[in-house]
């Protein structure tokens, strides 16, 4: 029978069907970070339980650690040091891999894992972090869990879960100039709402997805959770295999050949049936920007803040979002003055993102009143960017050039853009106070954020001449 990619991944990891709809699923890789991993490791130890296969568990320090040069265990976030040190000692005593603050492989967990070849096609991978769905871009079943589930996975190498439904989203046609993976996912969520996938496993497919680089696919899958998906998935193809070749934790030698043969089968068979299917015409997608406090509150950068129809059942939340964001119905998004620009996060901080932004910034400077920050997604990305001279372009343009980490993607009590500051940001969440108390976040692609930083206002990147 024709099977979906999800079905293949599910069946190859099914240990046992439990009562009801639950199943016991084998987990190949577990990732942790200091904010949620610390507590999972600590309570596991407190319950006198062991990590079952420490060699298949990887922990990074990325969330709370500062990203200013010269950083250490002390953080701007009050008590961040406790998280970092608890994680370090718990990781050491559990014998798991640890990419500590000064480790050459350190970085944001979802950037590090593909970069190091930890996530592999056909594997299952979990992390107590909602953006684990990013890693489905490599044809792995990768999803975010809570800390207690992480404890469960650490202790048993399995999880009890209900089988999610499946959905395929076909991005047909080609993307226009200046339109990126980030714009695709914002467009999708704007069309079908933040609850649009209702807990399904989404396979992203179609010509435009095949044409994306692996890094673009990671961006697309990153925001599957903002679409309420269980996770996102993309079939393995030549790009996937080429991407993984030679990565530190990827297979090698005879194992590599055998793995590649298997990976080539990791796509949905012709005629496979999904619970739901959606087709998007990519010609309709423009560079997108959010205007409110949900990723579904987005529209083309050429558009205006929507009018609120009181009959709409979302009118109250739209009103609240517009008040919070300080925008009015009918107002043009392009031209809205900004105070900050942020390029970073697991959504858009890989080398291709930095190259795109640098191309726009080269030889120019950001507007005088804008605080602009670039935070590479991993230490290897940072080094690569420096080898290409991108750091100089950012710095000369007036950007701060940071050490890698989550940084101001989220506010944990330390650094923030400030009260009611308006920020163009490449991150994935524009929730109230996500980037700081009352901070107003506008999600967009790296190109849009770079163009906006230069102009000091939200700007269509297609109107900024490339240097």
């Amino acid at each position: 029978m024709a099977k979906t990619l999800f079905e293949k991944l599910w069946q190859s990891h099914l240990v046992e069907q439990l009562d009801g709809d639950a199943a016991l699923i084998y987990i190949d890789r577990i990732l942790l970070h200091e904010r949620t991993g610390s507590i999972a490791l600590k309570s596991l130890a407190a319950a006198d339980r062991q990590v079952r296969n420490p060699d298949e568990v990887f922990c990074v320090i990325d969330h709370i650690v500062d990203t200013l040069p010269g950083r250490g265990d002390e953080t701007m976030m009050p008590s961040g040091k406790e998280f970092i040190q608890t994680t370090r000692s718990a990781a050491q005593s559990a014998g798991i891999h640890l990419f500590d603050i000064d480790h050459p492989k350190q970085g944001i967990v979802h950037v590090v894992s593909p970069e190091q070849g930890i996530v592999q096609p056909g594997s299952t991978l979990v992390c107590p972090d909602s953006h684990t769905c990013s890693q489905g871009a490599l044809a792995a079943l990768a999803w975010g869990i809570g800390s207690s589930e992480a404890e469960h996975a650490l202790a048993t190498k399995t999880l009890r879960i209900n089988k999610p439904q499946s959905m395929r989203i076909n991005f047909e046609g080609q993307l226009g100039t200046g339109v990126t993976a980030k714009d695709m996912i914002l467009y999708l969520i704007a069309q079908y709402s933040a609850a649009g996938s209702a807990g399904t496993v989404i396979e992203f497919a179609g010509e435009a997805v095949r044409n994306l680089s692996i890094e673009g696919r990671l961006t697309l899958c990153n925001m599957a959770v903002e679409f309420s998906a269980f996770t996102g998935l993309i079939a393995a193809d030549k790009k996937t295999i080429d991407y993984l070749g030679g990565r530190p934790y990827a297979p090698s030698g005879e194992n590599w050949k055998q793995a590649v043969r298997y990976w080539q089968s990791l796509h949905s068979d012709a005629g496979a049936v999904f619970d739901r299917e959606i087709t998007i015409d990519c010609a309709a997608i423009e560079p997108m920007i959010t205007w409110g406090n949900s990723p579904e509150h987005s529209c083309p950068i050429t558009g205006t803040v929507p009018k609120i129809d009181s009959a709409n059942k979302k009118s109250a939340s739209m009103q609240r979002a517009q008040d919070y964001m300080g925008v009015k119905p009918g107002q043009k998004l392009a031209g809205l003055p900004i105070d900050g620009a942020f390029i970073g996060s697991c959504t858009n901080s890989r080398i291709s993102d930095l190259r795109t932004a640098a191309e726009i910034l080269r030889g120019r400077t950001v507007a005088a009143n804008v605080r602009a920050i670039c935070v590479p997604g991993s230490t290897p990305v940072k080094h690569q960017a420096e080898a290409e001279g991108l750091d100089k372009i950012f710095i000369q343009a007036g950007f701060e050039w940071r050490e890698s980490g989550c940084s101001m993607c989220f506010y944990a009590g330390g650094e923030s853009f400030g009260f009611q500051q308006r920020v163009a940001t490449t991150t994935n969440r524009n929730f109230e106070s996500r980037q700081g108390p009352q901070t107003r976040s506008h999600l967009a692609s790296p190109a849009t954020v770079a163009a906006s930083a230069l102009a000091g206002q939200l700007t269509d990147p297609r109107t900024t001449q490339k240097s």
């Binding site: 240990v15 084998y26 975010g144 469960h152 009890r160 269980f230 055998q258 944990a412 106070s433 996500r434």
Partner: protein, 205 residues
């Protein structure tokens, strides 16, 4: 690590009828100050509950600060409750605050799981029903307590009764206060056998 079992609970219900209440709103990052599951109740809904960011001056317009909803142990809310970040702190904070059940049209998936494994009952009921319940209690919330009966899968107030659905496993976990890790460790033999085969099939992993 036995949990508090959930069978029948009667309590004050507070309406927080917003959609997409995300876990950042339930417990802001800056309120998660320690590597601990405790000490989180004060930060619950901090951005709405207090007049200033980081402050502790109650905002009297916020539902949980109103005297008629004192000691609320049930929340009524809008669709997609608990969406966003996977932080289990959201559930620990609700738990410590005394919330035992949440009634909403739908829940964030990770949040839903986090609830059931921490002894909080998430109940899915249609938006119209949630609004109906909110109306039914609002005249006197302290008197019109909601009765949540998990074994019989029913929510009721006075004469009104609504049935809800819940999967067998989370129901059993809640009713018996079971720890899922202990349940799974009993299956170690099956896991070992699976792992052996799996390694033969995919030796590169």
């Amino acid at each position: 690590m036995a949990l508090q079992p959930f069978t029948v609970h009667r309590g004050v219900a507070a309406p927080l009828l917003r959609i997409n209440v995300d876990t950042d709103a339930i417990i802001p990052s800056r309120e998660m100050k320690r590597v601990s599951k405790q000490g989180l109740a004060a930060g619950l809904f901090a951005i709405w509950r207090y007049t200033e960011p980081g402050g502790r001056e109650p905002d009297l317009n916020f539902v949980l600060n109103k005297p008629q909803y004192r000691n609320a142990s049930i929340l009524l809310s809008g669709a997609n409750f608990g969406c966003g970040s996977s932080r289990e702190h959201a559930v620990w904070a609700l738990n410590e605050f005394g919330i035992r059940a949440i009634i909403a049209p739908s829940f964030g998936r990770i949040f839903y799981h986090n609830c059931t494994r921490n002894g909080i009952l998430p109940i899915e009921l249609e938006a119209a029903v949630v609004h109906y319940l909110a109306e039914a209690i609002q005249a006197a919330p302290q008197q019109n307590k909601l009765l949540v009966d998990l074994p019989n899968q029913q929510v009721s107030v006075a004469e009104l009764k609504f049935s809800f659905t819940i999967e067998a496993t989370p129901k059993r976990m809640l009713v018996e206060g079971l720890d899922p890790i202990a349940m799974t460790l009993e299956m170690t033999e099956q896991i070992n056998a699976f792992e052996l085969q799996h390694r033969q099939r995919m030796p590169w992993l």
